[in-house]
């Protein structure tokens, strides 16, 4: 499977990465190189194989329903590049 420039732009847009026209061709080449190399997996017969999802082979532990966190608005906001009082801010969103 090989990517055309439109596909490169679509992926960049999904990933929220600005790409300039000049970058598209280069990225296209690199991604196609990697994807072409990855295509070697087509050789592997995986019929009947259950996918392995995670690194740990256990079932999930559950925690008790207790409030142990929060109540730290300053700490949570202290790294914000732009804030207004107790809020994070972003450019105005129109729904």
């Amino acid at each position: 499977m090989s990517l055309d420039p439109a596909a490169v732009r679509r992926i960049a847009s999904l990933a929220r990465l600005r790409v300039t026209d000049a970058q598209v061709a280069q990225i296209q080449g690199e991604l196609n190189g990697i994807l072409g190399w990855i295509d070697q997996l087509n050789e592997v017969d995986v019929t009947g194989v259950e996918p392995l999802t995670g690194g740990a082979l256990m079932a999930m532990r559950m925690r008790e329903d207790v409030v142990t966190d929060g109540a730290q608005a300053e700490a949570v906001l202290s790294n914000a590049p732009d804030r207004d009082g107790p809020f994070y801010t972003v450019p105005k969103v129109v729904e």
């Binding site: 999904l14 190189g33 990697i34 070697q40 194989v49 996918p51 532990r61 949570v76 450019p91």
Partner: protein, 491 residues
């Protein structure tokens, strides 16, 4: 002072032959004099280190000490450290001061360690050369015989490995997603272990690929790694993938005999075009183990060659999602001037992430996208299952595996940069271990023709780091590797 291993420094501190302040001050000086050449540290915290050292001396004076009291360490800048800038090697986190301490570093502080600073790394741990760091390349303290051109320390934990090799720290924390502990340890002539997935908590470690990321130590020798890993590991209820298992005494496992152990040699690791000296090194290692009473067994891991391609689907997929949180809203750098939210995101992320990170985010986004998920991601998960199955079957018959750590010794800065895939091939021997979640240790056992260190890798069963340490210590004793890099403190 710089000839001390970690365990020797620990004993000297307890015997009050040296003070923690003296030791830390010496390492601070080493960093001050060498970091401009090596660039192993992104952030140095000499004052903080001295304060921690003073606290260590106070504890030692009262006869109270933890396993690491007064031991100066480098912390890979992927571990969040409370109040100390944590960048993950990325511009996008350049202003980030974590208001919390990662579990692993908190464990080390609990045990009395001193933190010298934050070690350089490939951006978001994505790389095998440390060339992708936004804070500049790290220079390997080793050089080729008669050739002063700078070499890479490997990656992504290049700063950690270089710091330990150049004696700018007694040990270091590192992380390994596809070889990021073992490959730089091998390139820098020192020792590093990636424990079993779930052994060290991932809480507070900036995520790259969650199902593969594992923290581990890099240190001067096998026993030092065992001591550090003992402190770093342990069950953490804050990490759902953390294993609720007791932490064995790894250091005492280093003293175990390998007599009677069955050591597997996977034939698929004998790659086409592999340098003959790698083969020689490998055979030498197997001979040493045989001499110490181990049985060497030929085994097969048929899906080995697909490990890397599988990795380059799984890891970017997880990374594309893990790195979505870097959007310039709650922390980190932000590029102002966009007209709307989408432009804020696109500009912030395009400016904040380097080329390799963007490349992997795009690969990951693509392999998860509608219409391609089954062909790429699901397929990779199935191959991953086959890779695990290979190991599981082999481990029915053997106690550990021994392989080369890397296909080559350290290469020059700027080499292998033209084609991403060439760079990715560095991790061919280490990646399958991450795919299967197993423990793997790399240690130096010889030099290549140009005088650069070369390492072997010991792979164990899940949660059987003890056997890995026993086998590694046996190799270490036999190899007697004592060569030191050109650039180092106290030289």
């Amino acid at each position: 002072m710089f000839d001390f291993t970690l365990s020797e420094a620990r004993d000297a501190l307890r015997a009050r032959k040296i003070s923690a302040r003296e030791l830390t001050a010496a390492y601070n000086r080493a960093i001050a004099s060498l970091n401009s050449q090596i660039n192993a540290y992104i952030t140095e915290t000499p004052e903080l280190a001295l304060a921690q050292a003073d606290a260590a001396d106070a504890a030692l004076a009262k006869g109270e000490h933890g396993p690491l009291t007064g031991i100066p360490l480098a912390i890979k800048d992927l571990f969040c450290t409370k109040g100390v800038r944590t960048t993950a090697g990325s511009k996008i986190l350049s202003p980030f001061i974590p208001p919390y301490e990662s579990t692993v570093t908190a464990n080390l502080l609990r045990d009395g360690a001193v933190f010298l600073g934050k070690a350089n790394l490939d951006e978001f741990a994505m790389g095998s050369s440390n060339m992708t760091s936004a804070y500049g390349a790290v220079t390997n303290p080793w050089t080729r015989r008669g050739d002063n051109r700078p070499l890479v320390p490997g990656g992504s934990s290049g700063g950690s490995a270089a710091a330990v090799a150049a004696r700018m720290a007694l040990g270091a924390t590192a992380t390994d997603t596809g070889g990021s502990i073992r490959q730089p340890a091998a390139f820098c002539g020192i020792t590093g272990i990636k424990p079993t997935y779930g052994r060290c908590s991932r809480w507070g470690v900036v995520a790259f690929a969650s199902s593969l990321d594992q923290a581990g130590p890099i240190a001067r020798n096998v026993e030092d790694c065992a001591i550090l890993l003992g402190s770093m590991s342990g069950f953490d209820p804050k990490d759902s993938t953390s294993a609720d298992m007791p932490v064995p005494d790894f250091a005492s496992a280093c003293k175990r005999s390998v007599k009677g152990l069955r050591i597997g040699v996977p034939r698929e690791y004998r790659m086409e075009g592999m340098a003959p000296e790698v083969e020689t090194l490998w055979q030498q290692g197997l001979a040493w183990l045989r001499e110490q009473g181990a049985t060497i067994v030929d085994v097969s891991l048929p899906h080995t060659k697909y490990g890397l391609a599988t990795y380059y689907i799984v890891a970017p997929a997880e990374a594309s999602s893990n790195l979505a949180r870097y959007d310039g809203v709650r922390f980190g750098a932000r590029t102002e001037g966009g007209h709307d939210l989408t432009e804020l995101y696109e500009n912030t992320r395009a400016d904040g992430f380097g080329a390799e990170v963007q490349r992997r985010i795009m690969i990951g986004t693509y392999v998860l996208s509608a219409g391609y998920y089954d062909a790429y991601y699901l397929k990779a998960q199935k191959v991953r299952a086959l890779i695990l199955r290979d190991f599981t079957e082999v481990f029915r018959d053997v106690d550990a595996l021994v392989t080369p750590a890397t296909p080559t010794a350290a290469f020059g800065q700027g080499e292998k940069m033209d084609d991403p895939v060439t760079m990715y091939l560095n991790d061919i021997f280490t990646v399958p271990v991450n795919m299967a979640g197993l423990p793997g240790l790399a240690l130096p056992t010889g030099l290549d023709a140009s005088g650069l260190p070369m390492g072997l890798q010991v792979i164990g069963k899940p949660f059987d780091e003890e056997t890995v340490f026993a086998v590694s210590a046996a190799l270490e004793r036999a190899a007697g590797f004592t060569t030191l890099p050109t650039l180092r403190a106290g030289a």
